[in-house]
């Protein structure tokens, strides 16, 4: 395929106008030593019909998810997405635009981001939100950098019950700035306020996910208090779906809230593109990373939106910027905005409630099933952590054979949890599917 429209006659005329004899002449300043003197070693180009065939063939080598029921979660979820979301995202005025540098012709993108910021602030119960980050993991890392910038302290405390992907990325980012990362150990799958007292001495922040990676509810009130007692910032990690029904970070005293918003209308897509978000108390406005949109007006008083507080950003501030982020996840933020608008408060609450109910049906069933047990005690939601006599691999195999996907092997991330696994339930899982899963779990031989 070619997307270069010139005819030979076009090229001749253009070269005549330029005053060059050939296109190669336009490359004459490339030194011979750095020129590629052979064609690129790539498969030959294909017409669209063949490209379509090739990609369909590749995609067909993957499991046909239309025929499988997924109980995999742990940070990426199979949630229902209304048809409108996909339809609107294909409006090419949105997806073929660049970052809205020219506000007069970018009011669509800008207002959508303004609405996204508003929705995230409402969900988290905090004062301000920015335009998006790459994903939940980098949002956690950026929040730690914010806390370091704010406090000047070089120790970052993170609960071990935070998503292992997020902790891994946090360590990578922290190493760059030369910061120390300290983990709060698991106490029955949770963080404990007693552990903060020692770990958070001289810390910039304490990072806690709630409900945590295992779906367990953390004792956030005591954790917030212990964190603030040490003068550190409390960074809450939350799934926005959970915030539809649960007390938001702003209400329990968090200073910053971050997370992964893939559950708001974004396909699982083998791990990306997803949507990181960050909300904070007003005091941290000038420390936020990335884009922020604000409302203003033109000289006739017409309302309009612009990128604002840009003196935080790399293109103005260069090495003194709060982050190097430039391109973020704009279209994914639009997806989340459309999704949240469609579902509204009732729909979002229903997605969360049905998921929690399903998780408890599964959890209760596991309690009654021989050979498997809940891994931890206390309240939980969305995810069910369990341990069994059979190996995780055998459970995965039995589920796959029964047309189901799951569970996640927790030992992969937690050597201290051998034989532990994680199942996840969304609003898409029916009572029958959960019953069938319990049958499979019952039948796996140790």
């Amino acid at each position: 395929m070619r997307f270069t429209p010139h005819t030979e006659e076009d090229r001749r005329e253009m070269l005549r106008q330029i005053g060059a004899s050939s296109v190669d002449e336009l490359f004459s300043d490339l030194p011979a030593a750095v020129r590629l003197d052979r064609p690129l070693n790539l498969p030959e180009g294909l017409p669209e019909s063949e490209v379509a065939r090739l990609l369909s063939t590749l995609a067909a080598r993957d499991l046909d998810m239309g025929k499988y029921v997924s109980f995999l979660g742990g940070g990426a979820y199979d949630r229902y997405i209304p048809s409108v979301v996909g339809e609107m995202l294909r409006r090419s005025e949105f997806y073929t635009a660049y970052t809205p540098y020219q506000p007069e012709i970018s009011q669509g993108t800008l207002q959508a981001i303004f609405e996204f910021q508003s929705l995230i602030a409402a969900l988290t119960g905090l004062d301000i939100a920015q335009a998006s980050l790459y994903d939940g993991a980098t949002a956690v890392a950026e929040a730690a950098m914010l806390a370091w910038g704010q406090t000047g302290r070089e120790r970052i405390v993170v609960a071990r019950s935070v998503d292992p992907q997020y902790r891994a990325v946090l360590r990578t980012y922290a190493h760059g700035r030369g910061l120390e990362v300290v983990e709060l150990p698991l106490r029955d799958g949770r963080a404990a306020a007693e552990d903060i007292a020692g770990a958070a001495e001289g810390a910039a922040c304490v990072i806690v996910q709630h409900p945590n990676f295992f779906g367990l509810l953390e004792d956030v009130d005591s954790l917030v208090k212990a964190t603030h007692d040490k003068g550190a910032l409390y960074i809450a990690v939350a799934d926005p779906i959970s915030l539809a029904v649960m007390r938001p970070p702003g209400a329990y005293g968090a200073d910053v809230a971050v997370g992964e918003a893939q559950g708001l209308g974004i396909a699982a897509s083998f791990g990306g593109p997803y949507l990181g978000f960050m909300a904070a108390r007003q005091a941290y406005l000038r420390r936020l990373p990335g884009r922020i949109v604000g409302e203003t007006a033109d000289k006739d008083g017409n309302r309009g939106y612009v990128l604002t507080f840009q003196t935080r950003e790399q293109h103005i501030r260069r090495e003194k910027a709060t982050s190097n982020i430039c391109t973020n996840q704009g279209l994914m933020a639009l997806a989340a905005t459309i999704h949240t608008t469609l579902l509204g408060p009732d729909g979002l609450r229903q997605a969360a409630s049905l998921s929690i109910e399903g998780a408890h049906r599964l959890g209760d069933g596991i309690g009654r099933t021989q050979g498997v047990d809940l891994a931890f005690s206390g309240p939980y939601a969305f995810e069910v952590a369990l341990r069994g006599k059979a190996s995780v691999k055998d459970v995965q195999g039995a589920m796959l054979k029964a047309g189901m996907l799951g569970p996640l092997d927790l030992e992969r991330f937690y050597p201290e949890l051998p034989g532990h696994m994680l199942l996840s339930v969304t609003e898409k899982r029916t009572t029958e599917e959960i019953a069938k899963l319990l049958d499979v779990l019952q039948g796996v031989e140790a």
Binding site: V84, S92, Y101, Q102, E104, T109, A268, T327, L334, G347
Partner: protein
């Protein structure tokens, strides 16, 4: 236009999920349950009209010509949108067993290999989510490489004065001190100055080639020698790779690390500010420092390998912006090697064509053959006497349905306008744009006020950016 909060009316929502009543009190402690949830309620038709309305207040490549320098706003082929949404790709969960995602892994493995061939690099990671994220990955690799050799006194990253803002911001984020090297009179790196700056403290030089002036640095091999002799690494910012596809490869220029912007060079849409993808390629001696996992191929199967002994770790969740990777892979298969070289040919031809049509109306700071983009400034007398500036010209272009070029960048050219037409535009479009630019310069002399008060035909006029900071309104709440 109204916001979704102004459109709100309680009880208007549509049912998307089963309405079965759930008693949350049975599952969660009472104190954890939220009572209020101040989100707007719109009917589906209202929502569809709202977002369609927003889209009509936007401008994309499909709307018209978008010569935004350094951003490579080429046409985004529609087949890419279809392939990325194939259920076999779009519905995969990242924690699925490897044997159930062999197609996805094969695509990634081939893309790693092809991007390596295109850039002249030996190993590629697809994990970084955008260009700046790729830069951070690359500079963390620089840091890890020097650390692995116990060479910890290398505290400086050298960046040209013409560099993108992300370069110095990235170096700082990776814990380095930023040192600026000036440009010479031909617009390239001042090699004599570079010799003075390069030292046992040098960790790396970050360079874009062609640079942000659209000029190919002819002394690139000399630059590479200076940096390597000092013990530093050479980092290639791939923002401008579109200019040299199939002509020259960063690996052959002496670069050790490169990041690409798939949303520029490889036709994936920019999405109004992402998602992008910023794969990073390295020479063989840096392979083990790449972020994990990478995709490997052995015994007829594709694997996610976590077997890199010096890896900098993980840069984000999972494996990358996978949906963006599918689009770029589709593009590379559609064009092939020959098609990619033709992309560079026509991108450079188109830039030179526009320049040839406007050079008598604008100041041209460097009299050289540009590559895929070039930088000009409005004539000095027009700026000084009539007060017509680059911003005014950009805003006046909006009235003619063009997206303006990048303005006031690079910082080393006063009143800069950076024009990048890309390869996908017709001669007529390029000519029409050049004629319009010239007309605006003439108009600026005859009727400067009209240009200075542009745009006149957009849904809003020039917006008061100072007010947005002085009286910040960064969000709206239900009920005001």
């Amino acid at each position: 236009m109204k916001t979704i909060f102004e459109e709100h009316e309680a009880g208007r929502g549509t049912e998307y999920l089963p309405s079965r009543k759930v008693d949350l009190g049975a599952y969660l402690p009472a104190g954890e349950i939220r009572s209020e949830l101040p989100l707007p309620e719109l009917s589906e038709v209202q929502a569809v009209r709202h977002f369609t309305g927003l889209s009509r207040r936007n401008y994309g490549v499909d709307t018209g010509f978008y010569p935004l320098g350094s951003c490579t706003m080429k046409y985004n082929p529609k087949i890419n949108e279809d392939t990325a949404r194939l259920p076999g790709f779009a519905q995969l969960h990242p924690y699925q067993p490897e044997e159930t995602v062999q197609g996805a892994l094969q695509m990634m493995w081939e893309l790693q290999r092809d991007l390596g061939e295109i850039t002249g690099m030996d190993a590629v990671s697809l994990q970084p989510a955008a260009g700046a994220h790729g830069e951070l990955t690359g500079i963390l690799i620089v840091r890890a490489y020097h650390e692995s050799r116990g060479d910890t006194a290398r505290t400086q990253v050298i960046v040209p004065d013409s560099a993108h803002g992300t370069n110095p911001a990235t170096a700082a984020m990776a814990g380095f001190e930023v040192v600026h090297v000036p440009s010479d009179e031909r617009g390239g790196v001042d090699v004599d100055a570079l010799r003075q700056l390069a030292s046992e403290k040098t960790a790396a030089l970050m360079l874009t080639n062609p640079n942000t002036l659209g000029l190919f640095d002819e002394r690139i091999t000399e630059i590479a020698e200076v940096i390597h002799a000092a013990g530093g690494l050479l980092y290639y910012d791939g923002a401008n790779l579109n200019a040299v596809l199939g002509h020259s490869r960063p690996g052959d220029m002496g670069f050790d690390i490169v990041h690409l912007n798939l949303h520029k060079t490889f036709s994936t849409p920019h999405g109004g500010g992402g998602p992008g993808a910023g794969p990073v390629g390295v020479k063989a001696h840096l392979r083990d420092f790449l972020p994990m996992p990478i995709v490997t191929n052995g015994d007829g199967h594709f694997h996610l390998s976590y077997d890199l002994k010096d890896s900098i770790g993980q840069m984000r969740s999972f494996y990358g912006n996978f949906g963006v990777l599918v689009r770029a892979y589709t593009y590379i298969r559609a064009l092939g090697g020959e098609g990619l070289r033709e992309v560079a040919d026509d991108a450079v031809l188109n830039a030179n064509y526009i320049l040839s049509l406007i050079k008598d109306h604008f100041d041209v700071p460097f009299d050289r053959i540009p590559k895929h983009e070039f930088v000009v400034a409005p004539p000095e007398d027009l700026v000084r006497q009539q007060g017509v500036k680059t911003l005014d010209i950009a805003k006046r272009l909006l009235d003619f349905d063009y997206h303006p070029p990048t303005v006031y960048f690079p910082l080393i050219v006063h009143e800069a306008m950076m024009i990048e037409p890309t390869e996908t535009e017709t001669k007529e479009t390029l000519k029409g744009f050049a004629d319009t630019l010239n007309r605006i310069i003439d108009e600026g002399r005859e009727n400067p006020e009209y240009v200075k008060t542009a745009p006149h035909n957009t849904v809003v006029g020039r917006l008061d950016e100072a007010r947005a900071v002085k009286q910040p309104k960064l969000l709206e709440r239900l009920g005001g």
